[in-house]
């Protein structure tokens, strides 16, 4: 896993914001190809970690990326950056899939239904501030806490995995999880 606070990654995220906007403005297929190359493998990784079989993961990756094309006009970088936006699309499609035995339902709110019009420089500032805040908060966590946060996010059975990977007794895991997430949340609040 690469460092989640890598400044290069943050800069790239800003380019990806631009790519999504180009799709909305000019149906830019080259921008779509860049987004696909970067994000499709990550969506596969995310879905596989949460237990999706290969054929389901493949279907949902394609649906996610086509949603990026379709919904590009509703992308609002002042609310969520490219990674977060695409991540929430994949997450919602996975949940819809799990609930599909009656009907697919867009039960979870779209991360950006109605973008507000804000000047580009202002958006760039908001985006940069958000990235900085996130980076500072993640850096302030201990290595163990950062690993706990990662496992809570991307494991179906986080407590037993945390216990196994970090060699902590199960009884200790719950309080460590509470401490790590509480600290992260406080850091994000304080940096607002």
């Amino acid at each position: 896993m690469t460092n989640p606070t890598d400044p290069v990654a943050a800069a790239r995220t800003r380019d990806f914001n631009r790519d999504i906007q180009s799709i909305a403005e000019t149906a830019d297929r080259a921008a779509f190809a860049r987004l696909y190359e970067h994000f499709a493998p990550r969506v596969t990784s995310y879905l596989t970690r949460l237990g999706a079989p290969a054929n389901v993961a493949e279907e949902l990756v394609q649906e996610t990326m086509l949603s990026v094309w379709r919904k590009a006009a509703s992308f609002d970088p002042s609310r969520a950056g490219a990674s977060t936006w695409i991540f929430t699309i994949a997450r919602n499609l996975r949940i819809d899939y799990l609930r599909r035995d009656r009907a697919p339902a867009d039960l979870l709110p779209d991360p950006s239904e109605e973008p507000d019009e804000a000047p580009t420089t202002e958006i760039a500032m908001i985006t940069a501030q958000r990235d900085d805040r996130l980076r500072a908060a993640m850096n302030a966590l201990s290595r163990e806490q950062a690993e706990i946060v990662r496992l809570v996010y991307f494991q179906d059975r986080p407590h037993s995995e945390i216990s196994r990977i970090l060699g902590l007794p199960l009884g200790t895991v719950k309080s460590r999880v509470r401490l790590a997430l509480g600290r992260l949340r406080t850091l994000l609040e304080d940096l607002k």
């Binding site: 896993m1 990654a9 596969t44 609930r99 035995d101 009656r102």
Partner: protein, 221 residues
């Protein structure tokens, strides 16, 4: 409007990550509709999810995936594989005047009220994914007590109307009550209004005594 009792950070983080069960997520959604504090926390937890997602070791993208996606785009406005169904058509039990189920349940079928104990009725969700997490509505008359019980895993409750109290606190409309295997409790409906709750469970309830076990048979039916 903000509530007094919220999901644990871990529950919000797992909801943001998509790793909470599909039924438990509906209970969290019902709380979020009432709670601006937790909606703000969700925005933060989603941003954390986006950063962690960005750093996942890339998996293998589908073979020819980009070419197929571009072909779908060329064919015209690519539609979702399965279009969303009309909202609000789900079957649900009769509700007291003035009580509405949250929008998060618009596509979730529930059965009719079944008697569970004097003054206590239950309506279970019908879909297999919802049954797997024991998603149900409980409707309890004022003054009624649930049997004292423990839990085999986490249990998530959102209060849709009325209120109840247990040894820990008082919970009102919009509040979120979260218990795990360490908690034994005996909720009592304390207002003059019926209490309606939405509940999902990770493990089954662990009632105490023979009556409790009989009651369990009804609860799980």
């Amino acid at each position: 409007m903000s509530s007094m009792h919220h999901p644990h950070d871990e529950t919000l983080a797992r909801h943001a990550a998509g790793s909470l069960g599909p039924a438990a997520s509906l209970v969290v959604e019902s709380h979020l509709a009432h709670c601006s504090t937790c909606r703000a926390a969700m925005t933060d937890f989603e941003a954390v999810g986006g950063a962690l997602f960005e750093c996942l070791p890339p998996g293998a993208a589908p073979a020819d995936g980009l070419a197929r996606a571009l072909a779908a785009i060329e064919r015209g406005s690519p539609q979702p594989a399965t279009p969303p169904s009309p909202r609000g058509k789900a079957t649900r039990p009769a509700l007291p005047t003035g009580v509405a189920l949250p929008a998060s349940l618009d596509n979730c079928d529930f059965g009719q009220w079944r008697w569970m104990a004097p003054g206590i009725r239950v309506s279970s969700a019908k879909a297999p994914w919802a049954k797997a997490e024991g998603l149900k509505l409980l409707r309890i008359e004022p003054g009624k007590k649930l049997l004292r019980h423990g839990h085999h895993g986490a249990e998530w409750t959102c209060i849709l109307s009325g209120s109840f109290s247990d040894e820990r606190a008082r919970f009102v409309k919009g509040d979120f009550a979260e218990v795990d295997e360490d908690v034994d409790h005996q909720p009592v409906v304390d207002g003059d209004e019926e209490c309606i709750c939405l509940i999902a469970q990770e493990g089954r309830m662990r009632p105490h005594g023979l009556v409790g076990r009989l009651y369990q048979m009804v609860f799980d039916a």
